[in-house]
Amino acid sequence: MTATLPAQSEHPSPSLQPQGWLRYFSFSVDHKVIGLQYLVCGFAFYLIGGALAGAIRTELVSPLSDFMPREVYNQVLTLHGTVMIFLWIVPVVNGAFGNYLIPFYVGARDMAFPRLNAVAFWLIPPAGLLLISSYFITGAAQSGWTAYPPLSITTPASGQIIWILSVLLLGGSSIFGGINFIATILKLRRPGLKMMQLPMYCWAMLGTSILVVLSTPVLAGTLILLSFDIVAHTGFFNPGLGGNVVVYQHLFWFYSHPAVYIMVLPAFGLVSEILPVHCRKPLFGYATMVVSIMAIVVLGLVVWAHHMFTSGTPPWMRLFFTIATAFIAVPTGIKFFNWLATLWGGRISLNSAVLFSCGFIINFVLGGITGVALAQVPFDVHVHDTYFVVAHFHYIVYGGSVFVIFASIYHWYPKVTGRLLNESIGRLHFLLTFVGFNLCFAPQHWLGLNGMPRRVAEYDPQFAFINQLSSVGALLMAISTLPFLWNVIMSAFNGEIAGDNPWRALTPEWLTSSPPPVENWKGEAPLVTEPYGYGVPAEQLDLQAASGRDLWSNGR
């Protein structure tokens, strides 16, 4: 039921909402504002998490524990993991890009529940501040982002309880976001737009949000039980009181394995949006991409105990989870082959967005290969809880999700700000990041295979040189943020004006001004039935041909 009120889009909505830059500090219900709030807030936490990583790598330059007290080191590594996961990647790939793009893609003016959207965002800054301030006030949690009991019950309680509260708030934010995405994608599509005509990012967000809604509450319940153990001296996970610590691990990983897909599936979706535009070719294999996403969602819920192969798990359980985990490689592999096929035969612009996307492909394939290896229980028995695992997951979350976040910023910055980022600085940023990242994490595979466990401040001196190499890589990664920040800030004032559609793209967000108006489009939302309608059909191939087919239908 559409009751269009004509010519009233000029009339400002009867709101007391601030205009201009103050919007971004207010309880705005505009999905574009909220998306940017998520992005900037998340990036600030990325810098904090990065500083924590810098502290870790500085400590590891020498085999002795000589940079900071050991308890502090454990707090630093706990905060590093928690901040990066819950305050940077999950909010940004879901909340930032999801909120900004999904309404455009479904042809809506906003998300299904705009106020819930704002609530979900505004849970994040206080939860983050609470977590970080715990370091300065009572001491932060020291048991890793995994918070295994009994360690989490025996370390100082105040830091751990604050950690639990913070994660509960962040989990709640995530769940609210998930509810919003599911409702928007399923219910708010523009008339005439079918599910199989949606841009792939919508399918990725739908799958991710299903995982969020099903698995995050289990983490909430688990942390509530853990907090009871700490505060009320119950014995759920306290062996001294009859409890079972392995049950905690099962409950924790039931969420935390899908959590990695929550971090990575949206990134997959974003790459599917970026590559076709700059390769001037349709996304290869749309239907199989959709099926792969759903297969990953289903499989992702039944593989959690591969994080527990050396724990209190009997042989039959270890075998089951090995087999289940190995299967996930198949739909994931399909997606990568599809992206390779999208690149093949294209007219690829070698801009920063494409470079970071290709960096993603290379890094994530390596991470995926070590993942298949880790899925095999006999292999994992040797490398579990070593730097091999640290290397693996950093290839996935950094080499994967963070590279895609950068690619997405280069791709959508013109839409959001109306100006282009500087390409030369962008390429420098890519080079520094790619080299620094691989220098930091590739050697860590060897460290794990040869005997260096994780979460340690002191280690066997034979590993000193490789650790120093890794720390140099980390330094490069830190330095690489500088040209990026410079670029983002300077281009906002001096960047080349982008216009509506600098990439000549076909998806709905490019079919409006840059930046878009509050209502997303002046007039009716466009109906894009072929979001990847690039490319010249074989029979019409003409080397002098102008830009691609426009199958943008105006409502027919």
């Binding site: 524990s65 610590v245 209190g312 690149l343 035969g345 007219r347 292999f379 490319g535 087919r549």
Partner: protein, 271 residues
């Protein structure tokens, strides 16, 4: 073709692992070589494709045309669904075989019962034979049958605490800070922690098992190479987790017997 051969060569010749010192370590290394080869082939292949595409299909300046409008290719898609599925299936089955040869599928209760049998003479607690084993790696059945008569493993009770490992030899009723074992003889570790979760890891054995408070676990192995190897705690257990290490001394049977006799409390003579 070159890619496949190159990958296989790398897998065979690039040595990334420490020396092998237990019966299951070469079995593990076999698996590692296969995974490494397949991984190298796949990785180099994909990197090659990406780099090639970026060069060959890059947009020249001034070019405004689009690429080919290919949206799918069913035979190709079936191929690259089926091949990874087959490869993954192969890896899975191969890993199952490896794990079995390492002793991973052996029933854990046998290991516990060995300890209970050893223990009943010296222990005064009745919890031995009823104790549930919550996880671990047992003895592969081959070891026993290869030698004709089943060799009962040397039992050692491992206690992990913040921040040390203690090794109790029930046959001699003494406790040692180092784990001494004779070459070639199966050993059965029965492990429990006193406070938080720790883990027992010997990189040269390629074996690791969490040591959990309130939930005993087992780890069986047969050392094959004399030497001193580190025992590393591999589960965050507190601030000194990085310093929580011990040593496993694998020695010839005579040397071990000497050491055992020197420490043995049951047969100790008054001095």
């Amino acid at each position: 073709m070159i890619l496949v051969l190159g990958g296989l060569w790398i897998g065979q010749n690039v040595n990334l692992l420490p020396v092998d010192a237990s019966a299951n370590a070469p079995i593990y290394d076999e698996l590692f070589r296969v995974l490494f080869s397949i991984g190298t082939i796949l990785f180099l292949g994909i990197v090659g494709l990406v780099v090639f595409s970026l060069i060959r299909f890059r947009r020249r300046s001034g070019e405004l045309s689009d690429g080919l409008a290919i949206e799918g290719n069913l035979p190709l898609e079936i191929f690259w669904t089926a091949v990874p599925a087959v490869v993954v299936l192969f890896i899975g089955l191969f890993s199952y075989d490896i794990y079995e040869r390492m002793g991973g599928m052996a029933p854990l209760d046998h290991a516990a019962m060995d300890h209970a049998a050893m223990d009943h003479a010296s222990s005064n607690q009745g919890s031995g034979s009823e104790q549930r084993v919550w996880g671990g790696i047992g003895t592969p059945l081959l070891t026993a049958s290869e030698q004709g008569t089943p060799v009962s493993p040397l039992p050692v009770e491992v206690t992990a605490m913040q921040f040390a490992f203690l090794f109790r030899y029930p046959k001699g009723d003494f406790i040692s800070g180092e784990l001494h074992v004779p070459v070639g003889q199966p050993v059965s570790l029965s492990m429990e922690a006193k406070d938080v979760i720790h883990a027992f890891w010997v990189p040269e054995f390629r074996l690791k098992q969490d040591v959990i408070p309130g939930q005993p676990t087992v780890l069986n192995f047969t050392p094959t190479r004399a030497g001193r190897y580190p025992i590393v705690c591999a589960e965050l257990c507190g601030p000194y987790h990085g310093g929580m290490r011990s040593t496993v001394v694998v020695e010839e049977q005579d040397a071990f017997d000497n050491w055992f006799a020197q420490n043995n409390k049951i047969t100790a003579t008054d001095t």
